[in-house]
Symmetry: C2
Subunit: 474 residues, 2 copies
């Protein structure tokens, strides 16, 4: 039973995306141009992402802090590349109360400057290092075109900022945090992302290099989903973060930063969801199980209550729909909201000694004996749903991952059935620019552990050391 | 063993406060004027407050959302009193990228306007109501004088915003949320706050009335610690939030808002802490127990490890100080950070078959038999610490709560030993203004369940229906 409000994703993907966001009440446009409102259903997903990641960050030795949301212009300007990268897209506060400010301040687009300024005051000795801090906040970038979750002027994210005594340690941090993201995407979001290094053109302003996690959407479009930057001593030199090393010499510190954002909600939608609405992997769904009594008979409600209690005690997030609407309406609503597992309790089933478990991902209905332990049945099924969703997404990603050894081949793929295209690249930015002419295709990342296909650049034919994944991006 | 860096609170309370904030590394000034940085130790307390309150909010049927951080001027202006109240103290964004904005926007000082605007788009029928939403964020008010946690241009808070179909329900919400705050202060912060209604002069701009929770600091100064506002239909009329009621008539909705902030960290410091640093109640302390091995002997470390595991499994937040510093240094550090309970494990004690539990609040050391269950001992002691801290704070508050029936008496109290002063008030704002001449004393709140002392206004002698608590405020 397709939800009438939702356009088919195979007919008009962009409209389908908007329809799913609206139908599931994830976010709403506000009267603040380019800014969205995270409605309760959308915020609940973000909250679950935050809780999960926060635990992973803490387990890897990070602590949370909060920096100011404003950055004075001169502080922002200390590191030249960063301000050049962000200047065209920051919001400037020029007045406080009724007074013109002596120095304007921008609403943070990212907080390298503030963290670096702070680190310069607290780092004195190698004994103080490393400092591994993270911040949950919103940031602002004055984008022209906006789209819920994918691109909006304000978005919600975490930004980790760390400072280390050695290059090796900072580089390991950069890589480890990319690993945390990859694991989070795989184990929680059921999204098989690819990881690698950004080209010089695509790296973060001010970074020595940027590692990235890239996901492929249902329609073959790529989404940059998280980045981890190694800064070397660049910010340390600009902000004077020096420490006495073990040899008692002054040395500039080594830094990293890494972040993922509410954009991940967009990825969840575009990887897993369907024409009936949201589909959420059990490990990230705010409501994992919804119990639907088919009628409001006392014995049915009693079983519903028992199940709810048992499942809650087992640690699941579960609710029961006791509203007076029809069963069909309730099923459709649970589906549009992406609740991974539905337990339907009806009299006919009960007479046969069974209840029905309905999977959101496959729509499959499974009857289980009333005598079975409901917690056990749900645990097994939720695990299956989680792994099946990852498997399905992996299969689709692999099907949409192509190789190209000629530009003609490359163009044909992108023009007919876009996806990830693996192709050799010589390292010349001009060849990257040439590829951009193909529907705006950009390099997603250089695969660090794979060898070039032919060793010749797909554009110029010269010697190529890099196997690059390319894609059209959001 | 007093920490040398900390000024005595009986010598210079303001300096003592600053010293405790610095010594415990709670916050730091930033190079953004008037804005502070929440350092890891300070943020950890805020995080614990958030988690605890968030659970209480959810248990009372609230859901989280996120609104934009900017408010266009015309949206802000729709409700006249609110903009008049906040205009002198908002930060204005006037440029986006390199372009002047057509309409300037302020960084939210509070979000009634955004919530109301949103509610006007989603509320259609009484069936949509109530909507009980909350937001965790930071807000900005362009204060001139700032002080860590107590007053800074940016601060962190939660703002609940609810919309209801009836006045009775909205008023009940206003009161219930004040109750949630009062319970949180009592059971978690161990702060015996007083609650009541703000006078017209002191109520929130735009509110029908404001309920408040007020705490008394060690030095007798009052701290407004949280507020809960009933708006009636005021915002609904300004923002056009109408719904079809049960009689199928259009009716304006009834609203509330309520908030507490990172200011509560200031209250924790000024109510409980001492000349050795922070003192935290176990129920809000990020680290509840610290294990200190007196020496790094293998058998001691083994016991430490066992204890840590057992206590963690029992749900306590516990760590072990295995650094190579002296025991005395470790004790002092645990004290300055306010860790409620310390377990000291030393060879001499072990030879006697005991370990030592050290209370942060009283400095008392208690030897317990090695044979005792450590989880049981700690559970009992932490409960005792929690309740003793509340008792002590209540005793001090009561000792510093006075009554005055004449202005002379009132002035004498405030000039010699300030605290809460209970005195009758006729309701005339001019009498309130007269009292402000006494060291800036303001009404904290009207006590709703207590009768006037004499029935005559302490200022003008006219008939008085209100028993008011007055205080000098932060």
């Amino acid at each position: 039973m397709a939800n009438k409000k939702i356009t088919s994703r195979d007919v008009d993907f962009a409209q389908w995306y908007t329809d799913v966001v609206n139908a599931a009440h994830l976010s709403s446009y506000s009267n603040v141009k380019g800014c969205i409102i995270l409605e309760p259903n959308g915020y609940a997903i973000w909250e679950k992402m935050q809780q999960t990641l926060d635990k992973m960050f803490k387990e890897t030795g990070h602590r949370n802090v909060a920096m100011p949301m404003l950055i004075p212009e001169n502080l922002m300007k200390k590191e030249g590349e960063l301000i050049n990268g962000f200047a065209p897209e920051v919001a400037w506060v020029t007045m406080g109360g009724n007074k013109q400010l002596e120095e304007r301040m921008c609403v943070r687009p990212t907080s390298e400057t503030l963290f670096s300024d702070y680190y310069s005051t607290v780092v004195k000795s190698y004994r103080d290092l490393p400092l591994k801090y993270n911040q949950w906040c919103s940031v602002m970038r004055w984008e022209k075109e906006t789209r819920p979750f994918l691109r909006s002027r304000e978005f919600w994210w975490q930004e980790g900022h760390t400072v280390h005594a050695t290059q090796a340690e900072a580089e390991a941090e950069t890589r480890n945090m990319l690993g945390v993201y990859e694991k989070f995407f795989r184990e929680y979001l059921a999204i098989p992302a690819i990881t690698g290094r950004k080209t010089e053109k695509e790296k973060f302003a001010g970074a020595d290099y940027t590692l990235t996690i890239e996901a492929l959407m249902y329609n073959g479009i790529s989404l940059q989903s998280g980045t981890s930057h190694y800064f070397g001593q660049k910010f340390a030199k600009a902000y004077d973060i020096k420490f006495l090393n073990k040899n008692n010499d002054w040395e500039y510190a080594y830094q990293t930063s890494w972040g993922v954002s509410s954009r991940m909600i967009g990825a969840l939608i575009m990887v897993h969801s369907d024409d009936d609405g949201l589909v959420l992997p059990p490990n990230i769904a705010p409501t994992q199980i919804r119990i639907v009594p088919i009628s409001m008979d006392e014995n049915i409600l009693k079983i519903a209550k028992e199940y709810e209690t048992q499942l809650k005690n087992a640690g699941y997030s579960v609710d029961t729909d006791t509203t007076d609407r029809s069963a069909g309406f309730k099923f459709a609503e649970a589906e549009v909201l992406g609740v991974p597992l539905r337990i339907e309790i009806g009299n006919r089933d009960l007479q046969n000694g069974v209840v029905t478990l309905a999977r959101r991902d496959t729509k499959e209905k499974i009857q289980v004996s009333k005598k079975e332990d409901i917690v056990k049945s749900c645990t097994t099924l939720l695990k299956t749903i989680q792994s099946d969703m990852l498997e399905k997404a992996t299969k689709r990603r692999d099907e949409k991952t192509y190789t190209a050894t000629t530009l003609a081949e490359f163009e044909k793929i992108m023009n007919t059935h876009p996806g990830f295209v693996k192709a050799d690249w010589c390292g010349n930015p001009e060849c990257e620019t040439r590829i951009k002419e193909i529907r705006g295709t950009k390099s997603r990342c250089i695969l660090e552990h794979e060898k070039p296909l032919t060793g010749k650049c797909v554009v110029c034919g010269k010697h190529a050391d890099n196997l690059v994944v390319w894609g059209i991006q959001y």
